[in-house]
Symmetry: C3
Subunit: 566 residues, 3 copies
Amino acid sequence: MSALLQGPAKLTLAQKFSRLQGRMRDPEWRRFGRNLLLGKLLGLLVLPVLIFTIYKVAGLFTISSAFAADAPAGTPVLSTDLADMAKNPVINPINTAWVLLGAFLVFGMQAGFTMLEAGFCRSRETVNVLVECVFDTCVCGLLHWGIGFAFMFGGGNAFIGWHLPGDPTKSLIFMRDVDVLSVYGATGIPIVAHYVFQFAFADCASTICSGAMVGRTRFIGDVIYSIGVSGLIYPIFGHWCWGPDGFLATMGTPGGFLESLGMNFHDFAGSTVVHSIGGWVAIAGAIVLGPRLGRKFKRDGGGPMLPHDLTIAVIGGLILWFGWYGFNPCSTLSIMDNAGAGRVAMNTTLAACTGGIAAEFLSFYLIKKWDTPAMINGFLAGLVAITCPCYWVSDVGSCILGAVAGVLVIGAMELLEHYRIDDPVGAWPVHGVCGIWGTISLGLFASGQYQAAGSSPTGVPNIVPKSPEALTGLFYGGGWSVLKAQCIGSLIVCSATFAAAMVMFTVLNKFGLLRVTKEDETEGLDISQHGNTAYPEYVTPEASPFTAAPVSARGAMAPIETATAE
Amino acid sequence: MSALLQGPAKLTLAQKFSRLQGRMRDPEWRRFGRNLLLGKLLGLLVLPVLIFTIYKVAGLFTISSAFAADAPAGTPVLSTDLADMAKNPVINPINTAWVLLGAFLVFGMQAGFTMLEAGFCRSRETVNVLVECVFDTCVCGLLHWGIGFAFMFGGGNAFIGWHLPGDPTKSLIFMRDVDVLSVYGATGIPIVAHYVFQFAFADCASTICSGAMVGRTRFIGDVIYSIGVSGLIYPIFGHWCWGPDGFLATMGTPGGFLESLGMNFHDFAGSTVVHSIGGWVAIAGAIVLGPRLGRKFKRDGGGPMLPHDLTIAVIGGLILWFGWYGFNPCSTLSIMDNAGAGRVAMNTTLAACTGGIAAEFLSFYLIKKWDTPAMINGFLAGLVAITCPCYWVSDVGSCILGAVAGVLVIGAMELLEHYRIDDPVGAWPVHGVCGIWGTISLGLFASGQYQAAGSSPTGVPNIVPKSPEALTGLFYGGGWSVLKAQCIGSLIVCSATFAAAMVMFTVLNKFGLLRVTKEDETEGLDISQHGNTAYPEYVTPEASPFTAAPVSARGAMAPIETATAE
Amino acid sequence: MSALLQGPAKLTLAQKFSRLQGRMRDPEWRRFGRNLLLGKLLGLLVLPVLIFTIYKVAGLFTISSAFAADAPAGTPVLSTDLADMAKNPVINPINTAWVLLGAFLVFGMQAGFTMLEAGFCRSRETVNVLVECVFDTCVCGLLHWGIGFAFMFGGGNAFIGWHLPGDPTKSLIFMRDVDVLSVYGATGIPIVAHYVFQFAFADCASTICSGAMVGRTRFIGDVIYSIGVSGLIYPIFGHWCWGPDGFLATMGTPGGFLESLGMNFHDFAGSTVVHSIGGWVAIAGAIVLGPRLGRKFKRDGGGPMLPHDLTIAVIGGLILWFGWYGFNPCSTLSIMDNAGAGRVAMNTTLAACTGGIAAEFLSFYLIKKWDTPAMINGFLAGLVAITCPCYWVSDVGSCILGAVAGVLVIGAMELLEHYRIDDPVGAWPVHGVCGIWGTISLGLFASGQYQAAGSSPTGVPNIVPKSPEALTGLFYGGGWSVLKAQCIGSLIVCSATFAAAMVMFTVLNKFGLLRVTKEDETEGLDISQHGNTAYPEYVTPEASPFTAAPVSARGAMAPIETATAE
């Protein structure tokens, strides 16, 4: 009986099962056991009942308040939106399919991000990357449903939203007043479908951050900052740009922010909203954390720690490119504008191609080797850059702005080395820097052929060449106004993001929640945080030291000497 | 000539080529060779002619008997279904695109399953997993075309189907009487497209089984049981639930099974049909096979053998999640019900998120580490659970039932340890247990807002709150009837599956076809069955012992001591 | 100052930054630095201005000449195509969505190809495979936009195209005269969307080539031949088959090539155009290059070098199968022909299944092991073969022709061994040989039920049984004409491709651009060309010798003795 006296907490579940089995042979224990079992089952019942009661009280168990008890049974309560739906009995479903399939493709980018980050890190921190990417996705899905979507796409004020656009009595918080007939504005797409699309975007921003913080972040710290990014930073700053009344979205309009500018901020699929926000949170995290133990920078005779699996990293990059075809083209929200969707797909392809080629040749010029990270980050840079302007620029414009992104990303990677900032996957060079470039490039390359309002859900061709309605950049004779609007928007969002993220990470760091202890980092995050290693059969802790690899196998990007543990 | 006398069978093909080349210099051999060549070519011709004749006789070379010789040339023979098609000249194509794209996404899950299983096994059995997953897919595609689709979706009786629903004269066996105008029931989707969608589902069920039998199954045994699962168990038991006249599908209707119940069995996308069937075949296989050599369980001081590549396993899990967006939303079969498809996508997302979070926190509570397998199996558990109720429950309901699934999967994994059952990838906890939970949860959480019949192909909003047509669960005031129907259906299908699978595996085992010999298992399945290893450059047989990894690198799920070979 | 006198070229970027920082403390240097910075910024401005001017002069900055300055502002200039678009306000967008989603799936095959090639090679040449596959994609995207699409799909003459079909005044070169209203012929799909679809196809052809040339090709050689394949060989020979006036596409018509034949060449989705062209360029490359150092063939007592990662290879194969569902079904270009798309999807599935099963059983018969490469190449062979005939054959026909492909691919791999040609991934057996077989098989199996013209964009059922309009093969009583047309087309395209590729590779080889030096190959391409290794933590150069693996871990396909370095 001494084991029992020591308390059951010290037994594993399996041992408890064994004990139970032994006791079942004793009649007294059997009676006791039966009572215990009944009690536990009752307990198990209490839990859902409790949850049920809480939600019942909170009114969350009915999707829509329209289905109140006083509505006669069997009478469908039709919202005013139904009139619109009825008018477009085929168009709305088609557009919903387009957006949902886009959502699925963008969600697929999670596999790409996870592979890219896992491949670029050392094997000793791989499991940490894997678990974080998946956990962040789960947290983001829940938060975007609970508050994110409401904050970002809800009507409200210039800074934050919370209700169904056009109807302040209907809350979007926890999708409370969303019913099957609720559509998002003029798109004709059910809000429930729009949520899935936007969750996938939010998840990208959230995952981008973790890339720069690989290898030294406590898991609990990751959980907390993920909540901050997915629940507050991304949706609130995103509301400024994409919300129905965000101050950047309405900038330059009568009564709006900077009325005299006469031009609002444009970001078609999120160079700023998704990528800049992700990238600038990432750099804040990398700065507050400091570099990984043993990381020596080029000016100190070191170089980036070697990616442990380039195969996984490159395949991840290709899957990201694949998913980007949901990210950009499906952001038309309406395939009725099929020419627009096709143009976006073409421009996306071209910018990726020139970004990759430019980065690869520049990198060859610099180090005389055909470098792998330059190849990947090059086409990703082109993709990030084209994300904002893809709808309004020409194919030639896409080629040029993609190539410039490919050059910038290499320069930004060198800048990080210079300032001794350890960003293991290049999250800031790719998403932070090229997100800004892409946003600004619209001010230069907008070709003056397409409506400023973006895609046309009605299917009327949206061509308005040389008219005031067309978005026209500096190089196409449109003057400085678009460029100014883009610079202002990018500056505001990036600064606000960086500031908010610095505050968040500094506070987390103060409470010791952000960085693992020296001992845990020396042991490796996989073992200290997760108790697993990724490849237990052929990578033992000894085989995965701080300093990744012998000189003979080292990458060209780190040409001087092997980084060593401090 | 002695080599010839010994018979050509002992020469490799390459050696034969060499011999041939030598002989061609000898004029006599050249004449002989020419004759031989001619003979062989004739033989090669005979084979297709023979096949052709057989099929010609069997009448299989014409897709449709409607195209008989007596039909005047050039006259399209229009089936009565054409009238329906003509009425919906745009809607049917749109829905076909929706279902086909869903089919492609679900097929993509094969890559996910294969990665998950390969990553979770030891490297010494990886090639076996890879070849089995692909071979099973090939077998399943052929069988589902030949008999599976007919057995499952054909009209017939309460237990099995074989003909076009509504037309007993047209056989679906080998798609014999399917022509280009044949659509599946009210869906308006060509049967040929519906077959591809349903093949992808059947393939999932088939692949799930193999996960629990990794590392000790003879390849020939895998081939045979695959035929049993894909050709008989899945389609026949599936017919009960999804067939036009299956006894569970028509349960509670006048003249049907359990008429007094007044409620039929519901399984929107297959928590029972796909996942429970897969999971319960899997556990039967694992029981009959017994554990792998050297596998020690927790109660014996061991623990699960370590996954050899967590990167591949986690990416596989994410690809499964990606593919699930085809599995559930596209199961509406009609995107005209766009609100339904969006709701399904949202609910699928939420259940995955809460499943992953619940499992991860529970696992952290139990072992004080942020465990990787718990993370993956957690969100997969949520996905399996939401698969049945996704159309009829609210978002809050999805969150709760997903979280419960995340708890159940951890408990079920402990249960397997306790009963000393070796299920290397957790196929039964994820698919078997959470498949049952998901099926039953509909009886609790059906929100009473949506038609019992499922999606509405005509595009009429299917909202019927508080009406008898709405499917309403216990927690929403709908009483016990849905819950009863779900319990009955789940119990019948799971028991029948388990029983049939036990018989099948026991017979296979009796004939020595199921488990490899001790010598072959010791050598490793990859070498003994396939003659390859997965990573010949860095994982030698010595590096991949029975006991996977040294203590220092071992996972937290196995905290006591290293499992050792017996 | 000596460092400065030595010239700045010898300093790394990081060192320059350090120097700059030091100098900023010296007031004189600060003034000098400011001027330098201004100068460099001016230089940076000059570059885009220069590019801008060049393009402005070349007129490339306006997508369409229709938007000339003399058009009144705000007046949309509608091309005559708009009338067609207006007639089909919903159908064209639906078909565009279908084709774009198909394009995305086909692009996703790049991930599959890259995994397949990377997995099948040795780890010492993995990085090279990765960088080449991505770089080729970037080059192909740019070239297909610049010239490839115009050469292939433009109107012109029988051998090459350049202008909008039907309007010789509008150039397709660099998409010069393509505007938002330009649709491709009767398909109703915007040319910009069609370009993305066709780029993905071109990219497949381009990537196939690299598979046979793994492990000994200079990167610069890869860049040059990629330009040749993507920019000239593929689009020009492709024009013969798919161009609006290609001589094989119009073969047998009055005034066309071989008028007396009365039958043109058919290739639904590209068994010839994509796969044969890719495969025959590949074999030419492998022949000119010669085998890798240390490669011993079966007749010399060796065998294929071992794939370094079968997991990645098999997953890559499955992703290819997944992407093939975009390749074949979406090649209908119109989902209005939904029965056709469904039939193509079914036939594609069946041929893959029988191909895999046939190859696996044949390989088991030959080597008594369930071989992995046979499994993968088997189903890929079935997929390649069904690509041409998928629209016109029955399900039974698909099963047979897929199985034959599975047999042929094994035979072709033996043939390469016999002729001592080193094709590391089996590009020629899969794509070259089965591409021919698939093309020819249409002449045998075309079932006489479907219009010769392919899919019907208008949605009218395209069933024309036993009429002259139906494509009917030899086995279905259609006589020899289809078979003849297919043989002629396949022969012409394969011969022309092989000849052109041999010339290209021989010239490259003469200038020393094709094969790396013996020293570089001995060191490994990854280090010599790219300065990285794929897995620096656990695969050191010593661990990845020429001869891949110890005897104990060697594959069954190479049963006699270990290949050794010369």
